[in-house]
């Protein structure tokens, strides 16, 4: 398998993501909107990726990753999340700053560098946003008993273990309200009319919009 361009790596990552969100072959328009590009550009690229056996693509039917393609996706995701961890753990960046920078660092090729970085960070299992970091073989931890905060039962204590949105605006919003990975939350009440949730955290009550509570992942203790 030869070298992938940055653009190819980005497409592969997007297909990997959409594949598990949509749970069916990834359409050209899905990819176009995810990649913030035009459908015609996507068609060009999927032909190339298919040529390289990274995806199975059939005209008008969308595409899905091959084994090779999935391996490539996991390699890039591994690098992305290791770099994010490095930036937060070693260089004291905030979790809202690192995604952008990691979008560039994830394309550095050296496998030895990736593995040394992994070791330097003590083989972290999760990145600063709670997402699992694949190991050298692409294996990663799958968590059990997880819910979105919006679905958590009332009065059941749970721990915040992840965020489903890595945008700086959302993460800064969480910072402002003292929500970070590892804290314990309990739903006190839920309001019918706007689907907002009253949660208890750090002894304080806080009202979270449906928008926010649907993007916070928790695990029941």
């Amino acid at each position: 398998m030869d070298y992938l361009t940055q653009s190819e790596e980005n497409y592969i990552k997007a297909i990997y993501y959409l594949q598990k969100v949509l749970d069916k072959p990834v359409g050209t328009n899905d990819l176009a909107s995810r990649m913030d590009t035009k459908a015609s550009s996507v068609t060009d690229m999927v032909k190339r990726l298919s040529e390289k056996s990274l995806i199975i693509y059939e005209k008008y039917k969308g595409c899905e990753l091959t084994e090779t393609g999935e391996g490539a996706a996991l390699k890039t995701i591994r690098k992305h999340r290791l770099w994010e961890t490095f930036l937060v753990e070693k260089l004291n960046f905030g979790w809202e700053e690192v995604h952008e920078i990691a979008e560039q660092l994830e394309h550095i090729q050296s496998v030895k560098l990736t593995n040394r970085l992994d070791e330097f960070l003590d083989f972290p299992k999760f990145d600063p946003h709670g997402d699992p970091i694949p190991d050298q073989n692409g294996a990663f931890v799958l968590r059990e008993e997880t819910y979105k905060l919006i679905d958590l039962e009332v009065d059941v204590p749970a721990i915040v273990i992840g965020v489903a949105d890595n945008s700086a605006s959302f993460l800064k919003y969480l910072d402002k309200h003292g929500i970070q990975l590892g804290i314990t939350v309990k739903v006190k009440d839920r309001f019918e009319f706007d689907h907002s949730t009253e949660v208890l955290l750090n002894g304080k009550e806080l009202n979270l919009s449906a928008e926010a509570s649907s993007k916070i992942t928790v695990q029941v203790k």
Copy 2:
């Protein structure tokens, strides 16, 4: 000043290097051989760089960096050398392995990352090959009383402070013979017929070819 492509950054670095080696405007062929590309490609690129006011270029007369261009070169060199230092100091790479990887890392854009890395490494003044690391403003240490080992007077003790060739083959050769930055060397004898040098280091005598001794920088104590 807008964003530079990786290719543009690489050309600017090459021009910076050649400018001080040649000490006159950099010719198209000089650049072509340094960049391992064709003269016609260079002509295209220097037109673009000139358009962006990074260099002064006149047809048939070669080019030289503007203030802006020199600033860009120093920014890239700073990143390159900081990353090399990181790889050696923190990830235990050998000095012969890091140049290649840094060739990629030097193109990561975040200024904040560069400065945080600098801080994380404790503001190093030199990289693993003894080359000075420019600070945020492009300023760097200039050393005095330095010679190439091939020019060092007999029986004058000196310290190895740099290498003029970053190739893995040369650096591995130095490793093999116990030559590293910081060690003390003394020239015992010099042979007319092949210009080789007999040096004393770590109590042992060693014969170095003209090739090798011309690539080792030393400073008289």
